[in-house]
Symmetry: C2
Subunit: 337 residues, 2 copies
Amino acid sequence: MPELRKDPVVGRWVIISTERSRRPSNFTPETFPSSATFSPFAEGREDMTPPEVYAVRPKGGAANSPGWTVRVVPNKFPALQIEGSIDRRGEGLYDKMNGVGAHEVVIEGSDPQLAFADQSVEQIQQTLIAYRERMLDLQKDKRLRYCLVFKNHGAGAGATLEHSHSQIIATPIIPRQVQEELDGAKRYYELKERSVFTDILDQEMAESNGRRLVSTSERFVALAPFAPRFPFETWILPRAHRSSYHTISDPEEFLDLARILKDTLQRLNTALDSPPYNFVLHTAPLGEDDLPYYHWHLEIMPKLTRVAGFEMGSGFYINPTPPEDAAQYLREIVALT
Amino acid sequence: MPELRKDPVVGRWVIISTERSRRPSNFTPETFPSSATFSPFAEGREDMTPPEVYAVRPKGGAANSPGWTVRVVPNKFPALQIEGSIDRRGEGLYDKMNGVGAHEVVIEGSDPQLAFADQSVEQIQQTLIAYRERMLDLQKDKRLRYCLVFKNHGAGAGATLEHSHSQIIATPIIPRQVQEELDGAKRYYELKERSVFTDILDQEMAESNGRRLVSTSERFVALAPFAPRFPFETWILPRAHRSSYHTISDPEEFLDLARILKDTLQRLNTALDSPPYNFVLHTAPLGEDDLPYYHWHLEIMPKLTRVAGFEMGSGFYINPTPPEDAAQYLREIVALT
């Protein structure tokens, strides 16, 4: 059973894999096999993954058989384990608990070589709906308090397989950075009686401004945040207030989100020569569906610079590209979608 | 002038380089020239760096001339600028200030190819003393509130030059992660009336334990922390309570620290085939010399795994090597020093 351990000074939780411990010799650079030769996520290889927990089969068909367009399976090498009780306990002054949680893989299409940004908006829409469906299902498990959806694209961003996929990790604690975001947004709300995210959107979209806007759609805004950690970091925020991603139910809203997400990724690909990137969905904790102070959003971070000692030691980032410049570059790219 | 900008939700400060903005085409991978052919830090090339602010010249000699063993110079491409006033101001709901601060490079020896861990303990001692001297000098500048000392070793850890060096960044704000560490330690002290670091040392060194110890010396302890973010993360802590690094004055203490630091780095080199690594000195803010709740220490992080979307989105780390296993591997290595 993996263990969750808490740093006694800063309160940071880490997941310690106690079962598949990596010995020193296991840290040789990982190979990144091309999907041209082999992908365990390909259609027809459904038996190479654990049995699916969700799939879209437009023409019907049995579970774990071909014919799917999006498929969600438990991670074969999970960081957390779904069975078991949380069992909080001490070790002297330290705190730990069992590494209970879900770790799933969203396989975003049956073509092993088609990158996420190159898929059709309808295909991307299906993936965005899959995130919601999994959140709704995981929310039923009362041990789980947060559901983190993220994507590592490219070896430089931590991906170990080329076949387009994202990951879902549901944890029995609210991760530290999420809690800090919730706390910060709540403080602002208590002071102003307005959501900080609504104020950000109002300020960024005011006619006199617009310097950090990348694009807008009917329901979403893509922008470079005022204080980005990374060059070309881009956030997508819904215009309307909504704290939890999984409360979206209108398929049109997912389609609009798919459009602006594809458009943003294509702009980044054109500007930066198809960089590795991560995106992370920021949403309210499971079971807290309507927080007036919080606003779900997606943070996209191209991997262009290395995070080194300074950032790790201080949490203080040096960004060599002002967001106003990044937004201008991205705005001026003629959309390919 | 670089700008310091604050994220309006989480309060995270970032440094935005507004003068040497990197355009999209500037993000091609950086070359890492071998010091065998060229090092701007080599002896005899003192005119290739800004004029030195500190140097050790055992046989005397003029500033910025050969004959030094350790030399500290302003960074030629500083992230912060030493001249100017802080000038806090708003931009609508956002907060920013001028990027005032110091950014210095500690050149840790005149041999361009001798790695830090392979230097003599006396040479390492001189670097450790240089850190202290720079902190004492920077502390006189009342605009500066924190002095961060860190080392990026190897291209994989963010170094752009092979010649052994570390960096000092002094900032007009206390970095977020440092403040969290101070706050966490203070809360523990208020609850227990004891330092959390002293309690950690007591628990780790109790005869019944020792599972996370790597080595001990007269005045220091090297250990794997209970909740490490990274595989083989190793901390060096002084046995005696002291909150600020720069209040060390006994040369013997620096020598003892040099010995355990060299020994730890050599163990990591042997276990992990000379990995890239970062180390970061954690110390109290400038001007706060005697905090009963805080304990300076050094955190060493070999760079073996990639930080990806999950970690960046959550601040929640997955570590595939339990610290008890890492400490055992490192303990069992016969010290080479």
